[in-house]
Amino acid sequence: MKKRLWVSIINILIMSSMLAFVVLYSTFESRKGTRTQIEHFKNTTITMERVTENYLEGEQRICDVWTHYINTKEMTMEEAVSFIRVSHVLAEASAHIVYADTRVGLSTKAKLGTTDDYAVSYNTADLQDLLNDTSWISPIGTSINVSRAYTNPINGKQSIAFCNFVTLQKDDQPTQAILLRLLPVSELISTWVFPKEEYESAELSIIDADGDYIIKGASFKNASFFEFYRSYNAIDAASAPEFFEKITTTAGSFTMLNSHNQECIVAHKPFDAAGRWTLISLMPMADLATNSQNWLLISVTTSGLLLLFIFDLVVMRYFNKKLQAAAKVAESASQAKTDFLSTMSHDIRTPMNAIIGLTTITEKNLGDQKLVAENLRKINLASNHLLTLINDILDISKIESGKLNLTPQNFSIVATVENLMNLSQPTIKEKNIDFSFHISRMDKEYLYADQLRLNQIYINLLSNAIKYTEPEGKVCIDMKEEESEKEGCVKLTFKVSDTGIGMSPEFMANMYQPFSRQTDSRVNKIQGTGLGLAITKQMVDLMQGTIDCESEQGKGTTFTVVLDIPVADQQRAEMKLEAMEVLIIDDDEILLETAVDTMKSLGLSVEQATSGLEGLGMIRHREETGKNYDIVIIDLKMPDIDGIETIRRIRSEIKTKVPILLISAYSWSDVEDQAKDAGVNGFLSKPLFRSTLYDKISEILETETESAEIENDYSDLEGMNILVAEDNDINWEIISALLSMYGITTERAENGRIALEKVKEAEKGKYALVFMDIQMPEMNGLDATRAIRALEDPWASSIPIVAMTADAFAENVTECLQAGMNGHIAKPIDIKLVIKVIQKIKEESKQ
């Protein structure tokens, strides 16, 4: 909050500084402009003074010429007036000649309204002052002898007079008279042409040395300019004389308030020749063409800065929020990782502790075979958990770095489900969970997808369901195949429901985030990385599928994964069995429904019973009627009498030899012997795929099938010789020992180059295949494979090579296949998987 305040304050300070600068600069420029304008106005006034003075001089010269002529011709007043009358050029001009002593005389023009009244007198009160004192009239040619403006008594117009003394003949005596050449003030004013566009409101006046107006502009008030100044401007008595003296003696300018209280610029310029007259120009400052303040610039700058400030605030606020959110996420992620590392440390150390501890105990009790076996089993469990943990960590690392790629291949969904069942059986059994697996309309057995990742999705969801379901709880899988909107695909829905602890809505909101585990005392007791759901979600997204979850705390959880999976090009040949009558006994009505449906599609005639007793009755009835069923399929777990008891009664009470298959969703290991003793002919694992039923029934009926497998028969592997390229002694020892358990012999190549040499030198058929480590000294596994594939010997170049490496990522698998290998087994090795791969290769070599 304080930081934000500081940022705002700094922003405002910067804005204020910029604005202050703009205002100051604008003011400076404005003042500069005003100074320039004032100077220009002053210069214009000086120019006007020159124009006026030139005009006055010109008019005075005319007066001088007349005077000179009159003086030289010794004229009478009448003659002089006649002469001037003839000499007049200007219509508005006139002349008066009056005797100096009497101040009466004649006018060149008759009094207005008369035709013959030329008499003129300067003896009236108002005009006396003009000629009472004639000292202001200088001798001819020495100066401009111009009068103040006065009313011409002949025409009533305000006029000025240019004067000279003339000598007239009166009574044959030379008599001094005064010649006045009168021009209307309007004539003078017409010479004052201000540049209108600049000084439209400018006005001029002429004042004398006392400030009295000679000519008065309209805006000038009072009878005297000085009085005008005093009336509207403060000036102390002491400084006034000096100020007014300056106005009438020097050129300059000053400001004053006029009668409208407007600030005006006043320029003054004394005339050089016309007595002590001064030209005064006045104009309101507001009308001076100065860009007073550039308010537009200030407004735009202010608005711009304000907008910028608001924009900055909004954007900063937005980014701050994002940063805060990101920081929160990062902090949360960091905390999650810290928690995760803490958990990992705990989770890794726990199985490691078991492995190390049990190994130590075993070493000290090698003689106690039972203890050794038990310890080894526990070590194996701990190792597997550790492996899962490591795999999850690696997966999430790849997901987070965006390096998780899919490697699609043809695979059997039946095998996938079997694998799923196999993996989950131990836990289901351990927790005595009521487990069911329903399938519906699974027509397409072979699909094209990344089997490994699909397995991972299903296994994660199922293992979570089992993991978080209390003992005696219930876990149910529903799998169905539907038509997909995507061409060449089927829509595969995988739904796992449990009656486990469920999840809180808060946790569900973030359950797909890595490293998140529900905070629950029950959860804390369960091993987990907090990565399973994150990995699952990422993989479903990668496969462009959907995953939905419904959960209620304390009641259970249901995850539904829907994937559109391409159908493999090759499917099994049409599966049809001879027409036979089959009885299926199961308390699971859904299973009954789907199984009946499936078997009918195989060409079988099916009857069903929902309990062992009902089944017994139906079989007894058939026996009595001589129409025995061809095959009876019985579920292991049923409410009244279980499957084994039902078989036992069939064999003991009815004594029929009808082939009986026992079906179960659980592991066989515990009941296998018991079932065989009861008289079972074979076992079927739930769910009942079409192919599973077809294969098993065919096998029971000794019908040959293309895909029948012999379980747990490794006799064909005996005597096989495998070349193992492995630089690590322990790893070599492990694989060698494990394979030897199956009667397989091995040879070691310490690096890729040796492996290459051995294959090159080997006789045909010496090695059934090569297990190739990847990271080895001198020559790595990939280069060695490429070299082998490049050999000339067809057997050697086509020898099966399977990668056996700790480089377990998909891209590593792809790299291996691209180098020419036939398969990939990740370390640590699962011997069962290794054997399956060997068997597969062996089968392929037969073909």
Partner: protein, 427 residues
């Protein structure tokens, strides 16, 4: 129904309040295009007319593009006719004086240009002017509208009266007593005024109101006086005796008064010296006091309160001689006559005429005399002692006779009897 009644009542109240608030503030509503551009020129014999220029500024608030100017015409009475006869640039408004222009051939050309300002279409508010100041023609025409009026009286230094603990005199005897008190306290001339020449002399200022009052009482006397009948000289006796009594009693020291060199500025500046209890002067002179307060060093250093009162020439008090000082006439032949009349309509209102009177410090011609404290005393004079010479029909020759007679009696060049007997022939 109730609602209707309430509405009507509210409307009536609003109307009543509006009419009550009207007072004498007649609102000016422009009737012409405010964008009208023209020139209006006023001419007169004032060398400057700031009060009128202030009105120009106010009028420009309504008509900003009208240029108004005032111009003095030298030798006004002689040149006015010429100025009005010009083919172009003739003035729109000109000063007129009922006392001299109402008759005689000299002003015939000026009268010919005068517009009848009583024309109702012009909508001039002539009612705001004191009726005695308006000079009506035979048919009620009004060619001249007074903008200032003049009267006669004395300026009184209130601080001196206060200082000397002397009451302001309200009657003739109180005046004499007050003057005597001042004399006793060492004041050499308790009353002063201009006495160098007869024009605007203090003697006329004392005598003229008394003479007019005497003539007003006797209509036959006025006719004789106007006709300069020597018999009318007897009507001056009372007025001249007042002058003589004041001089003889020492209330007025003529020698000291003679030192005042002009009848305007010097009279004021002398009064502002602060040692004269009463300075006799016409109101025209009083008009110059405000401006000269700052020009007088003595007054600036020691300002005092002063007022202007009628000289108490009777036992009841003084006379209020109410004469037009300056009147305006409109040149009916001028350019822009509509705007000229619009300006007159603006100007002839109590507010504007009082504003002008305030600036010029002249007596306002409006009925609201009390607005200026200097002249407030004249507003209290009852009608029986208020006279309008122009209303009575006093002519210039009569005024000249009483002026010369009083001047000479005051100067001591004629006795009262001589002056009375010389009526009609005094030069």
């Amino acid at each position: 129904m109730k609602k209707l009644f309430r509405f009507a009542a509210a409307l009536m109240m609003t109307s009543l309040l509006a009419s009550c608030g009207g007072d004498d503030k007649e609102e000016f509503k422009p009737s012409l295009d405010p964008e009208t551009k023209c020139d209006i020129r006023v001419v007169g014999d004032y060398s400057n007319f700031e009060a009128l220029e202030a009105e120009f500024d106010k009028f420009n608030e309504f008509y900003p593009k009208v240029t108004l100017s005032y111009q003095k015409i030298d030798d006004y009475t002689n040149n006015l006719g010429t100025a009005l006869s010009k083919e172009s640039d003739a003035p729109n408004i000109f000063f007129s004086y009922a006392s001299c222009m109402a008759g005689g051939d000299k002003y015939e050309s000026a009268r010919a240009h005068m517009e009848d300002l009583s024309d109702p279409s012009l909508k001039l508010n002539l009612d705001c002017i004191r009726s005695g100041l308006l000079n009506h023609g035979d048919s009620g025409e009004v060619y001249m509208v007074p903008v200032f009026s003049r009267t006669y009286g004395t300026m009184v230094n209130l601080d001196l009266f206060k200082k000397e603990n002397i009451e302001i005199p309200a009657t003739w005897n109180e005046l004499l007593a007050a003057c005597q008190s001042f004399l006793d306290k060492g004041y050499e001339s308790p009353m002063m005024g201009y006495s160098a020449k007869d024009s605007s002399c203090l003697m006329n200022t004392i005598a003229y109101p008394a003479f007019v009052a005497e003539l007003a009482k006797k209509p036959e006397a006025l006719a004789k006086a106007n006709n300069l009948d020597p018999e009318a000289g007897e009507y001056m006796r009372g007025a001249l005796t007042k002058v003589k009594d004041l001089v003889d009693s020492g209330a007025i020291d003529i020698d000291k008064c003679n030192l005042i060199s002009d009848n305007y500025t010097q009279v004021i500046l002398r009064f502002f010296e602060g040692d004269v209890p009463m300075m006799i002067a016409a109101a025209d002179t009083v008009s110059g006091t405000k401006k000269r307060e700052s020009q007088s060093t003595a007054f600036s250093e020691s300002p005092f309160e002063y007022t202007y009162i009628p000289i108490p020439l009777t036992d009841q008090g003084g006379y209020f001689i109410d004469s037009p000082s300056v009147e305006f006439s409109v040149n009916k032949d001028c350019e822009n006559l509509d705007m000229t009349n619009e300006f007159m309509r603006f100007l002839v209102r109590t507010e504007e005429l009082n504003a002008m009177a305030s600036i010029k410090r002249l007596v306002t011609p409006t009925k609201k005399l009390s607005f200026d404290p200097v002249y407030a005393a004249f507003g209290e004079i009852p009608a029986e002692r208020t006279f309008s010479p122009e209303g009575l029909g006093v002519k210039d020759p009569l005024a000249k006779q009483i002026r010369l007679a009083s001047f000479k009696v005051g100067k001591g060049t004629l006795t009262v009897d001589e002056a009375v007997s010389m009526y009609g022939s005094l030069e």
